[in-house]
Symmetry: C2
Subunit: 238 residues, 2 copies
DNA sequence: GGCGATTTGTACGTATGTATT
DNA sequence: GAATACATACGTACAAATCGC
């Protein structure tokens, strides 16, 4: 762990515990540099991350104001997975694997980062239950060239991301997400007990590894009355 | 304009024009530093912005790969306004002001960053038409203490953000956004010709200025079949 | 309003570590 | 193993914004 990462995590922890209260200023960069025994640049790097994630707002000549967004924000706004989400929210949840088989690349993925027609993918369908009701149906398409052994059902029921990152040592890095409303398909209707003329919310993501290779496409179908997405956003000017 | 801002904008432009093709590497940091006549740190600062916005992906020991996300992504994912959105998309659009009056602070805003009961707000309701159909209803609550003169109707029909930033010299900095589905209210039903049991998508935002003062609350009601949200997201580890 | 003191922002140069080819 | 390229870290200097006197 780098110094700036440790310092960033440390300050974040102190904000969450109220040691640095919301609405107040952090100590100055020079004071923090002295306190941690590092250079000012290292403090600035640590603070940059806190600024990006909504923990602080910096203002030239004044200081770093503590905000209170990150503590409420849904991790879904990042790339964080369902499993991490439910852990952080303490809901009663269950996952059922509805399908887990190898298929040729679906048409809408052919051409994406060199995906060829017929290239093998793992097609995984899972239902997510909260308090006894199915509220999400996940469709995952995973590139076999990256995970030759597929995904064991036992893993699919827990967290595929943890498996990829810790067991397979894959670095999941970024994604392009789209949120749209669609009419419920057959699986949605059956699993979530809704009609064919009712809408669900789809969150579609293209997921990439650290070296920018395409790895996974996911389509999450959310029951419309249970869907919520929250994010902290900064205005980009240039 | 700072050096790193100029360089960031310059490289971005060259990516968009295909001078740096998607999937290829940018020149090395040292080469770029020589080319622009700046230090390597300045190049890295410029590249950091391009990485945050989805233009490039950096990899240690290898280089900076050009991505193709930013060119497609909806500006709505930042704080960019409706007017900027329609300009960038070239749709046939129109805005109608349905309401523009001063009201006491609504209950759900009292307590937010020191908002007191009875504190005056401007309540603005606008309908957005595309190709002759109303597809969005915007409800804006603007803090009168920040904009004492309110918003002229002529401005409200174009872009309030441009007015705030250029005329009033306000620095809009960040927002907390929430996306949920709700049943259409009376105004939604009337303006978008939909029934009381149909859903709309609400994008609710708390908007803040550079000094972290709360400035505006907006609730955007989108016709469900016209709604789309897209964003580029990086995985945050710690 | 002006003038310092403080604080953050930018820029540079150097050194060292680490990943990739 | 060598060369290349990115990542971190430090120290310095100056610019720009804020605040209190």
């Amino acid at each position: 762990m780098y110094k700036f990462e440790f310092i960033s995590a440390d300050i974040q922890e102190k904000i969450l515990q109220g040691f640095y209260p919301v609405g107040r200023l952090l100590p100055s960069e020079n004071d923090l540099a002295k306190h941690y025994g590092v250079s000012r640049e290292t403090i600035r790097k640590a603070q940059k991350r806190l600024e990006d994630t909504g923990f602080i707002q910096k203002q030239q000549g004044k200081g770093a104001i503590v905000l209170d967004f990150a503590r409420f924000s849904f991790p879904i706004s990042g790339l964080t997975s369902y499993k991490e989400l439910q852990e952080s929210k303490q809901f009663q949840t269950a996952t059922r694997v509805l399908m887990n088989k190898q298929i040729p690349a679906p048409d809408f993925l052919v051409g994406e980062d060199g995906v060829e027609a017929g290239e093998p993918f793992i097609y995984l369908i899972r239902s997510r239950e909260m308090a006894g009701e199915t509220v999400i149906i996940d469709h995952d398409y995973l590139r076999v060239s990256v995970i030759p052994d597929g995904v064991p059902d036992a893993i699919a029921e827990v967290s595929i991301y943890q498996y990829f990152e810790q067991e397979l040592n894959l670095q999941i890095s970024f994604a392009n997400k789209e949120i749209v409303a669609k009419l419920a398909d057959d699986i949605d209707q059956k699993e979530m007990s809704i009609g064919p003329d009712e809408y669900i919310i789809q969150v579609n993501s293209h997921v990439y590894l650290e070296d920018a290779t395409f790895f996974q496409y996911t389509s999450s179908h959310h029951r419309i009355d249970k869907f919520r997405f929250e994010e902290f956003a900064r205005r980009t000017t240039h």
